[in-house]
Every structure is written in C-alpha cells, then in structure tokens.
C-alpha cells in the first residue's frame, strides 16, 4: 500500500516536473542555439545603430558581451547553458540608466527577435523572463 502511494507520489512529482519544464522551457521555440545566436547578433547590431544606447557600450568587449548574452538567453529559456557573466546589478552599476533607455533596449530586443523570425509567443516569454531584472538595471 505504502509502496503504491510512493509510486503514485513519484509519478505525480514526475508529471509536475514535466509540466513545469514544458511551461518554462521555450529554448526550442526561440530556435535553439542557432535561434538564440541570431537574436543576440541582431540585438547587438540594433544597439550599434542606436546613438542613445550605444554610448553605454563604449569600451565593452563585444565578443564577451555576445557570449554572455547568448548564455543568458539560453539559460533563461531553459536551454542547456549556465550564465557565467556578472550580476545585472554589477554590470549596470554607475550607468544611471533611465526608464526611457531601458524601454528603448526592450524595443531593440523586440526588433532583433522580429528580424530573427522568432515567434510572437517565444518573444513574449523571453520578455517575461528578462522583465524581473529591470530593478537591477535602471537607476543604478
């Protein structure tokens, strides 16, 4: 009887994990490794053309930035990556980023995803994953 209960409990927890993974993981929806790389490349490209935003990246090692953004988007979307970059708070310290500048970067990311052909729902899920980082990014 107890064995049976444990079995049922295990089955349920297995199902729950599966559901959570299904709900949270959208790495494939972003297009997997290739899709995320394309988004990040487009994103960096969008930033490079925006005079109000590109100033924040003066002196930034773009190769490293690209690598860390790919890690971050991959990790956030449930892909097989660890984010090894600095915390959002540390990265943006002293930059005094305004809400307007933050919004602009969101728009650049949306444009990057549009250009990468990312489905709307996957775009929305990435925005949802990144949105909680806002307090660590603005007004630092």
């Amino acid at each position: 009887m107890i064995k049976k209960l444990i079995y049922i409990a295990a089955l349920f927890s297995g199902l729950t994990c599966f559901n959570v993974a299904q709900a949270d993981g959208y790495y494939q929806e972003l297009g997997g490794k290739e899709g995320v790389e394309k988004i990040v490349d487009n994103f960096i490209n969008e930033i490079s053309f925006d005079q109000n935003i590109v100033k924040f990246f003066e002196g930034t090692d773009i190769t490293r930035l690209r690598e860390k953004l790919i890690e971050q988007f991959c990790h956030e979307s449930g892909g097989p990556c660890e984010y090894t970059g600095d915390s959002m708070k540390d990265v943006h310290a002293g930059m005094k980023i305004t809400k307007a500048e933050f919004n602009r970067v969101v728009e650049l990311l949306q444009a990057a995803m549009d250009d990468a052909g990312t489905p709307q729902t996957a775009q929305n899920r990435l925005i949802r994953s990144l949105a909680p980082m806002r307090p660590d990014i603005i007004h630092q």
């Binding site: 489905p119 709307q120 925005i127």
Partner: protein, 282 residues
Amino acid sequence: MKTKLITLTAVAISTLAVADVNAGSRLLATSGVTQLEGGAGGGLTPWAVISGYADEGEYSIGAFHTSTDVQDFRLKVNGVSASYDNRFEISAALQSFEIKGVAGDLRQEIYGAKYRIYGDAIYSALPQVAAGIQYKRLLDGDIADAVGAEDSDSGIDYYVSATKVHLAAVAGYHFLWNATLRATQANQMGLLGYGGDEESGYTLQPEVSALVLLRDDLAIGAEYRKKPDNLSAFDEDSFSDVFIAWFPNKNVNLTLAYAELGSIAGSEDQDGFYFSISSWFK
C-alpha cells in the same frame, strides 16, 4: 471631391507608415486607447494607465475622436489629452449626442484628471493603480430637466482603477486586465443629467476590461461598464463591448468595437459599431 478623398487617404496612410515621430519612450500600446469621457483606458472605461507614451520626465500631448452609431442615436466625442512623467493626465472632451430624426444634439463637456498612485502595469508585481475625477458640464440640459434629473448642470465622477499586464500569460500572449470602481450620479454618463427621482446620490459602479495582445501592436478584448439607474422615466443598462485595437506606431491608434449600450432614453437594445482614433503628437 474624389481627389480630396484620395489625398486625405494618402496622407493618413503615410502618417501610419512613419514610425514614432517625436513620441515618448514607453512601450507600444501602453498608452491604452481613449475612453468615451476622454480618459486613457479602454473604450468604455478609464484604466490606471496614463495617456500617451511619456515616461519619467517626459510629457505627451494628443487628440482623439470617437463615434458610435446605434439604432436611434449617434454619439461623437472629440477631445485632447496631455500627460507628464507617466504620473499625471488631464483631458478635455466634448460629447455630442444626436437623436436620429431630431434636429440638434445634446452636448456635454468633460474635464478629466488622473494621478498614478502606485506601480507599473508591466513591471511591478502588484497592479498599477490610479485615481481620477471627471467634471461634467451639460451644455443642453433641457432634456435632463424634462426626464426628472436631480441636476441638469454639472456633476463629478470619481474613480479608482487598477491595471495589470501579465506577460506571456495566455498561451504565450500578453494578457491585460483592468478593474475600475466609479462613484457617480450621472445618468447615461451625464447626457441625461446627474441624479434622479429614484436615486439622487452617488452610487458605486464597477467597470472591467480584459484583453490579449496578439502582437505587440494588436489587441483584442472585451469590456463591461455598470451604470446607475437613477431615473424612473427610463431604464438604464450597463455598457459592454468587444474590441480590436491597432497601434501601428506611437503616434496613432485605432479601435473598432461592437458595443451593446442597452436601453437609452426609452429605446431598448441599442447596439452598433464604435470607432475611435487617438493621435499623439508628443
């Protein structure tokens, strides 16, 4: 005449094609649209969002036009709105209510102010909350007098709204809801005066909206606005609608709705299309 129409259409289309000229920095569609009394919101009810796209330190200025055509009446609303700092909003609207087949119309001026008390509809865990007032002045009060309104000159509505966007919440699409509680004496928004023989004082009326963003620039949703029933002469029903709103850029948005306005001044089951445009110059 035909040339003029073609020119106008061309101008309208080229305006739509130009992106975000001189607009504020908030994200597309966070302006909401403009409701019947001139507040930023849905079509029927004010939301906690502040009009335009201004964020901290920025201001917005815009204008709007709404018209709705039902069996026995037509309502046109024209007005302007301004906001500052994503914090304050002021608006002025003129409603013209036409009774089909009858010369002349009923006009009401509405001056609105709204203050965002708390939060950010997208980014804060709790909803964005705002409080507002709408001062209403009836320019043609004879009908309001005739139907037994307590006051046919002016009235003030007070409301509190809460708006929340849940990102990617419905099968990956963004979902927005708004709940508003309005204290009002107005009969048919004030077009038939304020207070009546059945109820002369303020009553609390709930108003709710919900929508899904199919794309960053396209929303579909529905609204419900409960209204008082103060007059013994006429029944007054709640308003409801289903709508689609398009935000081609931050300078303009367009709303098409099908509205059920219920019983109005003795005419039952009034329903029809609702069209609204809001333009943001700054």
